[in-house]
């Protein structure tokens, strides 16, 4: 199996150099080969465990708690304008 590294990088929003693409491609395939050992384990009748706590129905009541101030919320943003966070235009017109 050949991994389509460019496609995966696109999904992950990563820009990879040509060298990285090549390196990752072979490393990922090695890793996949290792983890495919799991196919030796029969799990035909086994249910999944996505959480180990056994907890259920952990919810909170619908009550408003204080928010951060606008200043706090924006304190780490590189670009802001009039209380908004600014990014390059996302819609081409």
């Amino acid at each position: 199996m050949k991994i389509n590294v460019q496609h995966v990088a696109g999904l992950a929003k990563l820009k990879l150099s040509k060298a990285e693409e090549e390196r990752f491609s072979s490393q990922l395939e090695d890793t996949l080969e290792t983890i495919e050992q799991l196919n030796e384990v029969n799990t035909d009748t086994i249910e999944i465990t996505s959480q180990v706590t056994g907890l259920e129905n952990v919810v909170d009541q619908d009550a408003v708690h204080p928010s951060l101030t606008q200043k706090e919320a924006l304190s780490n943003a590189k670009n802001t304008l009039n209380g908004f966070v600014v990014v390059k235009a996302v819609i081409e017109e």
Binding site: N57, V58, V64, S67, L68, L74, G83, A89
Partner: protein
Amino acid sequence: MKYTPVIGLEVHVELKTASKMFCRCSADYFGQKPNTHTCPVCLGLPGALPVPNAKAIEWCIMIALSLNCEINLLSKFDRKNYFYPDLPKGYQISQFDLPFGKNGLLTLENGKKIRIRRVHMEEDTAKLSHQTVTLEAGNHEERVSLIDFNRSGVPLVEIVTEPDFSDAAEVKEYLQKLQQIVRYLDVSNADMDRGDMRLEPNISLSDLPVTGERKESELPKYKVEVKNINSFRFVEKAITFEIARQEKILDSGKLPPQETRGWNETKNETVSQRMKEEANDYRYFPEPDIPPLHHTASQISSIRDRVPELPDAKFSRFLHEYSLSKYDTEILTREKMTADFFEEAVHAGKEHTVSPKQIANWIINKKPNLADVLPASIVKEILQSNQVEVIDEVALKEVIKDVLEKNTKAVEDYKSGKETVIMFLVGQVMRNFKTKIDVALVKTQLLELLTNN
């Protein structure tokens, strides 16, 4: 047309809970200063964790029950992974394979049943707006997007139908009914102008003349989705436009491409929104930060008990119980508040023998501001209006004389034998009084003065 439209619909309804879906920031974001309703959770700061809002979940189940859905007693949240600047975590917490509601139904006026595939709970994104700004650094202008995270994490319920609609009118009716239901439930303002409801029809054309339910194999080989429409009228227009556009392509022997399009209000047409192919691979997996949700059948039935009488049921009950016309009933049951007001007034009217019909007429014709009046006071007003005001006969005579002087033509007509003109003159007299007066009295007095003259 030789094709049958196959139309499905996804609707996002924003709930009006006090706090957001996964944090306790205020969900009342509309018109607030940007980025003042945020916290580490809805800003997606590192390490912040979601805790679901119990009320939002209950309301989502209520909507599902109102749409005749089965409820998945064992449910969970999943992560839907994709990148967009309005999605702070890089994933949206949604539901994948175990939505709260599935396999529901909504029946249209003509008896056609629209199947509801699923009703699930998720969170809203931040709000983007677009502007041209002059950057401090230089003099050049740049197109930018501004992000307000106040809306990020507000609870959203997504309602997905099977592709059971055949035209835009059916879609519109469904939407009106859905809007009415969520308003009856009092779980959303469902205000289109505020974006409380966002609509995404998917449209394709089939050459198989099937109406209603289609088997998987009877579906066309492509599907065009139109994203994020915020008015019923635009949905109708977009569907009509798409049907025509796709018909032309099919007629030329081609298959319209499977794609996502947007509605352009100014051009009155749908436009292709070229998205990267990978954008559709959402890599769903169970949300590890939220334990699964397990409802018992009795919990669900207690939620069901809290579902109020829904519009359709209320409509048929009003028709029978109060012997009203369909027209009146439709107006009275359009909003739950009106219907409730009407019924309270009917109750108050019983001891005064004011009939439901009289109350219905009063509400429909006088359009009182129901928020400001009490049902009992409406009854009082109706009673008062039925009493004929006793008026001074001298004053009446003065008015009649005045009317006769101003309407010499009518008087002549009457004298030359055109007796029907008398009702015109009665009307002219009545217009001079603000309250209801005895018509018979006016007529007698009029005739008397006419013959004496």
